[in-house]
Assembly symmetry: none
Homo-oligomer: 192 residues x 4
Amino acid sequence: MEAIPTRERVLEAAAKVFLEHGFTAASMDQVRQEAGVSNGSLYHHFPTKARLADALYAYTLRDFHASLLAAIGPRVSAEAGVKGLIRAYLQWVLQHPDRARLLHKLRRTGDLTDTASERNQANEAAFGTVGEWVRQKTEAGELRALPFPVWLALVFSPALSLTQQWVRKPEPSVAPKVRAALEHAAWMSVAA
Amino acid sequence: MEAIPTRERVLEAAAKVFLEHGFTAASMDQVRQEAGVSNGSLYHHFPTKARLADALYAYTLRDFHASLLAAIGPRVSAEAGVKGLIRAYLQWVLQHPDRARLLHKLRRTGDLTDTASERNQANEAAFGTVGEWVRQKTEAGELRALPFPVWLALVFSPALSLTQQWVRKPEPSVAPKVRAALEHAAWMSVAA
Amino acid sequence: MEAIPTRERVLEAAAKVFLEHGFTAASMDQVRQEAGVSNGSLYHHFPTKARLADALYAYTLRDFHASLLAAIGPRVSAEAGVKGLIRAYLQWVLQHPDRARLLHKLRRTGDLTDTASERNQANEAAFGTVGEWVRQKTEAGELRALPFPVWLALVFSPALSLTQQWVRKPEPSVAPKVRAALEHAAWMSVAA
Amino acid sequence: MEAIPTRERVLEAAAKVFLEHGFTAASMDQVRQEAGVSNGSLYHHFPTKARLADALYAYTLRDFHASLLAAIGPRVSAEAGVKGLIRAYLQWVLQHPDRARLLHKLRRTGDLTDTASERNQANEAAFGTVGEWVRQKTEAGELRALPFPVWLALVFSPALSLTQQWVRKPEPSVAPKVRAALEHAAWMSVAA
DNA sequence: GATGAATGAGCATTCATTCAT
DNA sequence: CATGAATGAATGCTCATTCAT
């Protein structure tokens, strides 16, 4: 018995459909069919396509967070922390390639949903901690002084860019060698 | 008189509309109205929305391409070349912010158009020369040995990621200081 | 009150429109207007033009079917049966000339709908019984041994061809005399 | 060299396209492409889709005629004539299956073209001779007295119906045995 | 909470035809 | 005779959303 609650069934279905088609191209009806739920029921739980996407975004982001934060802490050296972030990021992406892609797709969609508040709240919760850590290490003279958005771009975007490519045509064997290059580049890019 | 040819009017209109709404959300009718062209005429020149997007992509990429290539050459040192690529890239983006955003939007759209050939052709024309230059510098021992896709990600993606953010809420004043950081990071990431 | 259900209203409207213009030339919008139904509602009940045509075909065929079967039975002699089939056929056509024309139009349309299964099911339901009756009478030596499709063509097509002509420019007065000729020909064509 | 004249190229192309899709569903553009002709040129030769279909109908019918008429004559007995007509008909259909199908498709289309005159002219030329022959044989007491349209339906429609079926999924091996049945039925149907 | 009928605006695309060169 | 750009009405179908039960 133990029926899976409708709300969850819809979220899982939405994950699949939004991932495959993207927010705009995906239709509520595709989600409905995938979830095996009635139209009325779907709209009962998520009154809008945008709200569904937001809920799904938060749902996915929460999981990603935890993985990242484990890599940094006050006791971790700047170099170890930066490289740890990259390693943690890569690990999560390789373990949850679909979730990773989805997160990316939904991220860009933010503009369309007009529900920025919920999004930003989730994002800040996620990267606020990282920002704080960076500030401390910068004051301690271990990191170059950089605006935080620039810092994020320098450290994460190469890994992000590459993993997005992997994720389209999975090529997990490349990981070990490339990981070193990515960690190295991340650290060299922001070392004081 | 000197009437602007229809085809061009449509491409310019498409640039505007696709930029504002993205490929999927933009409608052919919006393009049609913006171009001030009849429906039949629009479809006479571009038989498909996807084909229009492809044509627009190639059209925009060609312009970008020329700017990049000026930065590299056999006589340029690896460091100067890498930094020059970043500088040229940033300059082009700041000068043509709309084109830059458009290029980005259309890039992601490639999956939806199913006309990979035309796309790849344009891409290779653009990045083939860079790839060749990298190969030579690598053999000369000036650059780390890296797969080309990884090389591209390490060098370009931070700049790419940042400019994407600027371009949404224009903030062109940040450039000078940040540029140095980006050039530095790019070079450190791939220096032998 | 006693509102006529939407589905039925659409079928009746489709009968009228398809009859007047034929499947290809008729438009869903014509059907929609004739039925006084919203577009969404129309497509809610019939997700495709082809499916609408199929449903209409089955709907019409069912009625026709019943009329035919009354003419044959194990106790009926071959001659009486064959002639009875013709008589029943003519009677139905004269009583429901529009339905008859419609059935004809839709029949030819089968190729375009790609939903052969539903069609064949309806057809077999209708003609399977006749086929069985023919087989028995043939074994009993009352009918010539002929492949069933050939049998059908010999017996029915003259009546079919003529009624199609009547139905275009109604000329119901011809019936009595001609009917005898048709019954005679049908029987002579397949008598053992 | 010996270039095939445009007009003919268009007719051949139209034969192919109309046969495959039917008059309504076929588009002038399909014909244009198949013929490898420019749009302007196509409309120069045939100012209307309907006129193109008419021309094609006449073009095809002319050929069919000649074959039929060879079967009858004053010296031919009624039975030999009737059976000969069926034989000639079958032969032509089997030899030119595509033309036969086309003739059928176009025939039904007459309603849509609003150019009945040209059509009727062609038809009467074709069947007028047969009608005359039937009249003589009837007066001579060899054939039952029947209205001519009824006579045509009785004699030809079974063959017509069957050949239409063959022509969809060619099954030419059935011919010899079935031909006898068809000739027999035709003769029995109208013999005095 | 759930169901499915209803809504109507919107969309990409097709088509027969016209016209200037 | 030929070319191809231009036209605009139509078409089948999708979609997010609402609502009565």
